[in-house]
């Protein structure tokens, strides 16, 4: 039995975003969607996390932060980019300090489309990311 698929602990990082996707990520924890059904926990600590959930785009200032968070996570780990901003840079793409989506900083496993991404889609993305945890 693959236990790491039954207990995904999630670290959420918010880059340059409008906070729309962040609110949807938090909505996943509410009674309506309740990701804890799948054993998921929203942890604030990269050392405990299995999945890094990134919302918002990467800019000159947060690129090193995201890279450090990623490096602090123990293997096996997966990265989910949530929303248009984290996938490509979204509406912030042309900004002077924006480097692009999450992929500008670290390797991304799953892209979740949407602006904002729906909670169902985010949960689906996390479940897909579980297959990447080897």
């Amino acid at each position: 039995m693959k236990f790491n698929k039954k207990s995904p602990w999630i670290l959420h990082y918010d880059g340059s975003s409008c906070n729309g996707c962040d609110i949807e990520v938090l909505a996943c924890l509410t009674p309506l969607f309740d990701v804890e059904r799948f054993g998921a926990i929203n942890t604030g600590n990269p050392k405990h996390a299995d999945i890094l959930l990134i919302t918002g785009s990467i800019n000159e200032q947060n690129v090193s932060v995201v890279q450090q968070l990623y490096e602090q996570m123990p293997h096996p780990k997966a990265v989910v980019a949530v929303g248009a901003c984290a996938c490509t840079g979204g509406i912030f793409k042309e900004c002077y300090n924006v480097l692009g989506g999450a992929q500008a900083a670290i390797p991304v496993d799953i892209f979740v489309a949407g602006c904002a991404a729906r909670p169902e889609a985010i949960i689906d993305g996390v479940v897909k990311a579980l297959d990447k945890l080897k």
Binding site: F3, N42, T43, K47, H48, D50, P74
Partner: protein
């Protein structure tokens, strides 16, 4: 042949106590979720978490941390084994305290400001509950006339009859030991962020898994103390005591969900007031009558 029996007994304890502790934690998570009108994780979720953590990569900041965590877990296990074998209650309490101290050292050894704060808070928490546990041992001695855990089963009446106030005080400080809100200052077992995770901040993989298992043993020991108040020579009291343990555990879950985390000063002063009032009054009663 007696030693074969003892070995089997210890093996039984080592197998069943973590199962009971894990199931209690699972039930705790489901009941907490239902109280928040969520569905909650599967019953076996704590076991999934631990098995996952065991398989994860272990990163260590300081190698000493691993030894401290392992030591802490071993002493917690020893506590429960001693307790279930029915030996001296004081011995259990001292082994238990040593486990707690090693846990604090684990936090200090990782050099992270977060675990430093966690360790400091854990020390305060030890200050909060330790006097009550010692008073309980003292009261137990006055009633049973022996420190042996096993002697509770030979009494004519349960200890609660003579130690009602000490029992109340103990339930108050058990909230601290079970790491429940409002007293989960140093290390919360919920999916919390940042400082409330305290000592565990730098721990990964195996260490974290061991700590989780250690908490299961702690939970069983804490409820074991409650159990001691209600057993006596009548066999039916064993079941009644077990049922009361579950009621107390449920009560702690309600408190956990109903109260916001307090500051350490309140935790310290309130628990000392409770200890002095309940423990003092009860011991005075015992010495007078």
């Amino acid at each position: 042949m007696t030693w074969v029996l003892s070995v089997l007994q210890v093996l039984g304890i080592l197998i069943f106590v973590p199962i009971i502790g894990g199931l209690l934690t699972g039930v705790d998570r489901i009941i907490s979720a239902r109280m928040q009108s969520r569905k909650g994780p599967p019953l076996l979720q704590p076991f999934y978490d631990v098995f996952k953590l065991l398989k994860k990569e272990a990163t260590t900041v300081n190698h000493a941390t691993g030894y401290f965590v392992t030591g802490s877990v071993l002493f917690n296990i020893l506590t429960v084994v001693l307790f279930c074998m029915g030996v001296d209650l004081l011995l259990c309490i001292f082994a238990f305290t040593l486990g707690c101290v090693l846990f604090v050292l684990a936090g200090y050894s990782s050099h992270s400001p977060y675990s430093f704060v966690g360790s400091e808070r854990e020390l305060i928490q030890i200050m909060c509950y330790e006097p009550m546990i010692l008073i309980m041992a003292f009261g137990y001695y006055r009633v049973v006339e022996s420190f042996n855990v096993g002697d509770a089963f030979t009494q004519n009446a349960p200890a609660i009859v003579k130690l009602p106030l000490i029992f109340l005080g103990l339930v108050y400080v058990l909230t601290i030991k079970l790491r429940k809100s409002p007293f989960d200052l140093s290390m919360s077992h919920h999916g919390h962020q940042e400082i409330v995770k305290g000592i565990t901040t730098e721990l990964t993989g195996t260490s974290l898994a061991l700590l989780e298992i250690s908490h299961w043993f702690e939970t069983v020991f804490a409820l074991g103390l409650v159990y001691l108040f209600f057993v006596y020579s009548a066999p039916f009291s064993w079941a009644v005591a077990a049922a009361i343990c579950l009621v107390v555990f449920f009560l702690e879950i309600i408190i956990d969900n109903g109260f916001a985390r307090v500051k350490w000063k309140f935790a310290l002063t309130s628990s000392w007031i409770v200890i002095i009032v309940t423990g003092g009054a009860n011991l005075m009663y015992l010495s007078l009558f």
